[in-house]
């Protein structure tokens, strides 16, 4: 597994445990007669951590590892696009999730969502040329 995939998949596992921990707090609070008020505000962070932090980081990590190499002989490429996708996605998860949990100004979750979208676009741009049929070779010039 390449180093970047290791980072992505391990970050996904950290997000899984963190997201489940928040979910456990939220669910346990539903069993209380008077749940603490802050628990309800954790829900957006719980959702960001699991839907994007867990599932998307894992998808990025496995795709970066397992998609076919580029036909131009550069393997997985320089890794800049995928690395940027990883950084943007996780910065976005933190900004959007923590921003909503702390009721930060609306610009903070907005920036977070924009970073997540930019991360998705960066990963799509990286992966695009690696999605190809069996036996594809470089086009004759």
């Amino acid at each position: 597994m390449p180093r970047l995939s290791v980072w992505m998949v391990r970050t996904a596992l950290v997000c899984l445990v963190a997201g489940f921990a928040l979910g456990a707090l939220i669910l346990a609070a539903r069993g209380m007669a008077e749940p603490p008020g802050f628990v309800a505000r954790l829900r957006p962070l719980h959702v960001e951590l699991l839907l994007l932090g867990w599932i998307v980081n894992l998808g990025f990590g496995v795709a970066y590892w397992i998609l076919p190499a580029r036909v131009d002989g550069t393997g997985r490429g320089a890794g800049l696009g995928a690395g940027a996708a990883f950084a943007l996605l996780n910065a976005g998860v933190l900004l959007a999730g923590v921003g909503q949990a702390l009721t930060a100004p609306a610009i903070v979750p907005l920036l977070g969502r924009a970073a997540e979208a930019a991360g998705a676009a960066a990963f799509a741009a990286h992966a695009w040329r690696r999605v190809r049929p069996y036996g594809a070779t470089r086009r004759a010039t």
């Binding site: 596992l13 899984l16 445990v17 069993g31 393997g75």
Partner: protein, 143 residues
């Protein structure tokens, strides 16, 4: 496919079908009238699909396909995976049974199951993370 993967993937498939059937039932007015708990089943529906289906399927496939450990990094004990499997599904079932009842009737004793369900699912996530962590590793020459 290892036995743990088969159990995880088959249980994930059961959750997938059950979740979508629950979604159908939630949309049918006559069903909601006959079973008022369906009106409060939305969180259960979402978690049946995200935890029971997606997360469990990922765990099954990851346990099957992630790189094997070697002598320098021994594999975590297999019981960790089985414990995660049992805890996850027990916690999920407990939630499905208790949450709608607690939402409709805050005085129901079933409500006391929710913290336990929360704890079981969190423990399951920890088991799976510990099980997979040593297998997420760099291979020499693979950049």
């Amino acid at each position: 496919m290892p036995p743990l993967t088969r159990w995880l993937v088959r249980t994930a498939l059961v959750c997938f079908v059950a979740g979508l059937l629950l979604g159908v039932a939630m949309q049918v007015g006559a069903a909601r009238e006959a079973f008022p708990l369906l009106a409060a089943a939305w969180p259960g529906y979402v978690h049946l699909l995200t935890v029971g289906w997606v997360t469990q399927l990922i765990m099954g496939v990851a346990f099957w396909l992630f790189p094997r450990t070697d002598r320098s990094r021994p594999a975590p004990p297999a019981w960790l995976g089985w414990t995660g499997y049992v805890l996850l599904n027990a916690g999920l079932l407990m939630r499905l049974a208790a949450e709608p009842a607690a939402m409709l009737d805050p005085a129901t004793p079933l409500r006391n199951l929710l913290p336990l369900s929360a704890l079981l699912q969190l423990a399951a996530a920890c088991c799976f993370a510990l099980l997979l962590w040593p297998r997420v590793r760099e291979r020499a020459g693979d950049r």
